[in-house]
């Protein structure tokens, strides 16, 4: 874990020392990027590192929806299901993805390549429907575009 704590140290140095507790979420994010998903022992590790109550970090871990607590696929697809996207065909897009990947929302393909998640407004309402694949935005979606995007992924 020494390489990880080096990264922790570097991040910690960017916050004023009196704001130690503020590092909970940034460290959870950092660890998520390293590990793909987080467990209770990761929360305890961060709590020990910061010297804050383990309960605080555990609660944060379960409360913030971006922090995956189950293993996810290599590519995490987040499709917006909110109002502007719905008006532009989000339901059709979601059905198409489910059918193409052969999974329901919240599931991961058996080969571990794709996880499909439904999310709320991604602030792409003017270029709806929208989704993210491993953080990258894809907008103005239609079936052909989805075919193309998925084909490009390794």
């Amino acid at each position: 874990m020494s390489c990880l704590t080096d990264k922790f140290d570097r991040l910690r140095a960017t916050y004023p020392p009196e704001m130690n507790s503020s590092l909970v979420l940034p460290l959870l994010h950092l660890m998520l990027r390293e590990k793909g998903h987080l467990t209770e022992s990761d929360a305890i590790f961060i709590a020990d590192y910061l010297g804050v109550p383990a309960m605080q970090v555990k609660e944060a871990l379960t409360w913030y929806t971006m922090l995956h607590r189950k293993p996810v696929g290599k590519h995490v697809i987040k499709v917006c299901r909110n109002i502007a996207c719905s008006l532009m065909g989000a339901e059709r897009i979601i059905d198409y993805l489910k059918q193409k990947l052969g999974i329901e929302a919240g599931e991961t393909t058996p080969d571990g390549r794709f996880t499909l998640l439904l999310v709320e407004c991604l602030a792409s309402c003017g270029t709806a429907p929208a989704m993210q694949v491993s953080d990258t935005y894809h907008e103005n979606l239609d079936e052909a575009r989805i075919d193309h995007i998925l084909k490009e992924l390794s």
């Binding site: 704001m19 929806t65 987040k78 109002i83 709320e120 407004c121 602030a123 935005y137």
Partner: protein, 427 residues
């Protein structure tokens, strides 16, 4: 006369977001001017004179908010609210992607006015290009001596820390944002005390939206009086409007406040998809009450006019709905959202949002019963004004207004067990 532009004043190219491009169009001259020729209080006075009102949704006068802060306090914090999560809102993302430096300069000017040493930008965790563009701008600014110790060789020092959110809509609410920034799950807090008195780590704290702060450089360059001369009298300036939904050309437009809502939809955005009639407009993000098509006839885009019409200017996210859309199923999209995003801290909001979603879900499934609409109305009035934060109101207003404005459609759905419009959302 060409209309003044605070944001859309340059052509977008591959490198128009860089420091050299921003400087080429006069960037950071407001900061030079303020640090070399103005006292912190002068900056605040210009902002007060400008009449600028917050662009995050509540429309609170910015100068007035700043005036509540005790600048002599040993620590004052500034938090830029970049959590942009109100459905229908996508303007702050435009600022990050195309002109992060304008925001950085605005944060520095506000920090100077408020005696802030550490400023935070709380940015939505999902943002990708926006986040990278912001980090790039900060790196460039640091290297150029515009952020950090002794900025531009003066006594003024300020660091800007970018803090990523965790995917919770409620964290855009200011007290929740602060709890989250302190490293906890983002529970909102009762007010008072207001953040300007007791905010981040108990210190006086100002929270301003991205667009609000990014407007400050223009005000300092041209003067508060010049800004006050633009747009509507009690809601001055220009504003970014994001138009989405059933229009031919959705997108962001910068317009002076007081601009006709109809004009932005039918001229700037090319009218309704497929030449359909306009059924409804949600004028300021998903939380603001829906208006029927005919009700927007004389509405102009300023707080007073939209309130008079029965809604709110909110965040400037205008959602356009064409004739033929099923309002019952559209409301379900929203009740599901608010039920999902309620933090669960107060009973009326936790139980109420779940209950509303359940009843709407039942109606959509064809199992609505007589009395459901009255039940929903009772739930909304039980929530409104009885919660810790405004998410409860935000969740209730769409329900109350959809039922009020489209009651016949809800009644039809309950009576026949199916939609009057085949459940259509996409046109």
């Amino acid at each position: 006369m060409t209309e003044p532009r605070v944001f859309f004043n340059f052509g977008i190219t591959d490198d128009s977001h860089t420091l050299s491009a921003y400087r080429g169009r006069g960037g950071y001259q407001a900061l030079e001017k303020a640090l070399r020729t103005m006292q912190p209080l002068d900056v605040e006075k210009e902002v007060t004179t400008s009449g600028l009102r917050g662009r995050g949704g509540a429309g609170f006068p910015t100068g007035s908010k700043w005036s509540f802060v005790d600048k002599k306090s040993p620590v004052v914090y500034l938090c830029c609210n970049a959590d942009e999560g109100e459905p229908g809102t996508f303007k702050d993302r435009w600022i990050f992607e195309h002109n992060s430096h304008q925001l950085v300069e605005g944060v520095l000017l506000a920090a100077y006015a408020l005696n802030v040493r550490h400023a935070f930008i709380y940015i939505r965790g999902e943002f990708d290009l926006s986040y990278r563009r912001l980090l790039l701008a900060l790196e460039e600014a640091r290297e150029a001596g515009l952020v950090g110790e002794r900025i531009l060789g003066t006594e003024f020092s300020c660091d800007i820390i970018v803090h990523q959110g965790g995917g919770a809509y409620v964290c855009g609410e200011e007290s929740s944002l602060l709890t989250s920034l302190e490293g906890f799950k983002g529970y909102p807090k009762n007010k008072p005390p207001f953040p300007a008195v007791k905010g981040l780590y108990q210190a006086p704290t100002v929270i301003n939206n991205v667009e609000t702060l990014a407007t400050i450089p223009w005000i300092i360059t041209h003067g508060g009086g010049a800004y006050a001369g633009i747009g509507a009298q009690n809601n001055t300036g220009t504003k970014l409007f994001g138009i989405s939904g059933h229009v031919n050309k959705p997108g962001i437009h910068e317009r002076p406040t007081g601009y006709p809502l109809k004009k932005i939809i039918f001229e700037d955005c090319g009218g309704i998809l497929g030449g359909k009639a306009l059924k409804a407009v949600i004028p300021g993000g998903s939380s603001t009450p829906v208006l029927k098509g005919f009700e927007i006839e004389n509405v102009t885009l300023d707080a007073e006019s939209v309130i008079k019409a029965g809604s709110m200017l909110g965040s400037g996210g205008i959602i356009v709905i064409a004739e033929g859309t099923c309002m019952v199923r559209l409301l379900q999209v929203l009740t599901r959202f608010y039920a999902h995003e309620s933090c669960g801290q107060c009973t009326p909001c936790r139980e109420g949002t779940a209950w509303m979603d359940k009843v709407i879900g039942r109606i959509v499934a064809g199992q609505g019963v007589k009395g459901d609409l009255e039940r929903l109305e009772a739930v909304t009035s039980g929530i409104m004004g009885n919660t810790v934060c405004a998410l409860g109101d935000a969740a209730s207003m769409p329900v109350a207004s959809f039922i009020k404005k489209f009651r016949d459609e809800f009644e039809y759905y309950i009576e026949h067990g199916r939609s009057m419009f085949d459940g259509r959302l996409e046109i």
